[in-house]
């Protein structure tokens, strides 16, 4: 890892000020992606601004069906939250399947979505849930937040503070994890919201990152069932081919994971 200057922020405003003052600053959340990237010399920020000490950014609040998760809440804290499990079990399952136990003790929801890895789990969850991403400057709908591979609508130095969503009537998540990394080779999050509104988001498969699948959404809006997935054509166009599997295989995984998510 190259030399850097470490700062511990005491508040979101303090973090923003420290970021502005740095020549090539980077915000540090749980560090489970950023630090390995820096160790490989693929990132070399001049300054790291650690958000770990900001208590306001940590915690899960469930009020009725309204959910708010602080940006620095760890995957483990989401996975272990019984209140959240009762209103939105799929997000709890999703968080409990990220990485491994030690990674889940450090990695955070804010860090995950700000990085927007195309095979990360949370982008699928938040997109399907129609979540709102809150920052120190504004609120951004998940539909507008995830803009491509490792790319988001966040501006330079903008800090994710929380995510919020209304728990759906029903939801499910299933992924086919890479056996070594546990990243999704394909993951599908299905959410049935009020008024027959179904959203389906796919991660790990798209060559431009997380996306919603229109065909699955239409079919499941009419019939929320495993059987409804069978009749939906899923094209390999726009899907990734890499050393793990090709686009056709991923197209099939989308259907297979959608079924598991509904089962």
């Amino acid at each position: 890892m190259y030399d850097l200057t470490y700062h511990r922020a005491t508040s979101v405003d303090d973090a923003a000020a420290k970021f502005s003052a740095a020549s090539d600053g980077q915000l540090l959340a749980g560090g489970q992606t950023l630090l390995p990237t820096m160790k490989h010399h693929l990132a070399a920020p001049s300054d790291l601004i650690d958000l770990r000490g900001i208590a306001d950014l940590v915690g899960v609040k469930v009020s009725g069906r309204s959910v708010t998760i602080g940006a620095m809440t760890t995957h483990a804290a989401v996975a272990e939250n019984a209140q959240l499990a009762s209103v939105c079990p799929a997000i709890v399952k999703l968080a409990g399947g990220i990485g491994d136990p030690a990674v889940r003790h450090q990695g955070t929801i804010g860090g995950s979505i700000a990085n927007n890895d195309p095979a990360a789990d949370y982008p699928a969850g938040l997109l399907a849930l129609g979540a709102t991403i809150r920052t120190n400057k504004r609120e951004i709908a998940a539909d507008d937040f995830f803009t491509g591979l490792f790319s988001t609508a966040l501006s330079e130095g903008e800090i994710v503070t929380a995510v919020g969503f209304e728990a759906p009537e029903a939801c499910g998540y299933a992924k086919f994890p890479n056996p070594a990394s546990r990243y999704a080779m394909t993951g599908v999050f299905v959410a049935k919201r009020g008024g027959g509104n179904v959203r389906v988001a796919v991660t790990g498969a798209g060559s431009d990152g997380v996306f919603r699948h229109d065909g699955l959404e239409r079919a499941l809006s009419e019939d929320w069932s495993v059987a409804a997935v069978d009749g939906v054509p899923v094209s390999a166009d726009g899907l990734m081919t890499d050393i793990h599997c090709d686009a056709t295989y991923r197209a099939n995984l989308i259907k297979a994971m959608a079924k598991r998510a509904l089962a």
């Binding site: 030399d3 850097l4 470490y6 489970q32 790291l48 136990p101 030690a102 003790h105 990394s181 546990r182």
Partner: protein, 159 residues
């Protein structure tokens, strides 16, 4: 350089270290607690696992400065010189061959036992295998490690 202070194995530890110092390097190089190992250095193998504020973390994937004020426990501090019941279980069940991954395995094992106990869940053989996803052993093939953790969990309850 940055000033850090934390509690390691019950003792106060203070130092001035380069800002990019990893927690594992602080433990090994500054405190000479070489029981915590660096295996892959890419967050996958778990040989570097320690407990921070009662939770298993990969000390190769954390800056020492981020552990400011934390309570850190390494394999050396698990039983303060005696053998912890989990260490005894690894010994009795042949849960190691070369021993390189063992400190991380034992720190993960005691963490999972504590978490399952706190959640009131049964730590089944299947659960142990899932919980070990972040620990890699290249000698034994895991069967004896899983048996050791089952035995160690029982020994910890017996106290």
């Amino acid at each position: 350089m940055t000033e850090i202070s934390m509690t390691v194995n019950g003792k106060a530890a203070r130092a001035s270290v380069p800002d990019n110092t990893l927690l594992v390097d602080f433990l090994r190089e500054h405190l000479r607690l070489t029981g915590t190992h660096v295996g892959c250095d890419t967050s996958q193998c778990g040989a570097c696992i320690v407990h921070m504020d009662g939770r298993a973390v990969k000390s190769c994937t954390m800056l020492a400065a981020s552990a400011e004020g934390a309570e850190v426990t390494t394999i050396e501090g698990l039983a303060n010189g005696a053998l912890h019941p989990m260490q005894t279980a690894f010994k009795e069940n042949h849960g190691l061959q070369c021993g390189f991954c063992t400190p991380g395995m034992i720190m993960s094992a005691t963490d999972m036992v504590a978490r399952y106990k706190a959640a009131g869940k049964e730590l089944t053989e299947e659960a142990i295998r899932h919980e070990l996803e972040g620990n890699i052993c290249r000698c034994t093939g895991y069967h004896n490690i899983v048996r050791a953790i089952q035995d160690g969990a029982a020994k910890m309850v017996a106290g």
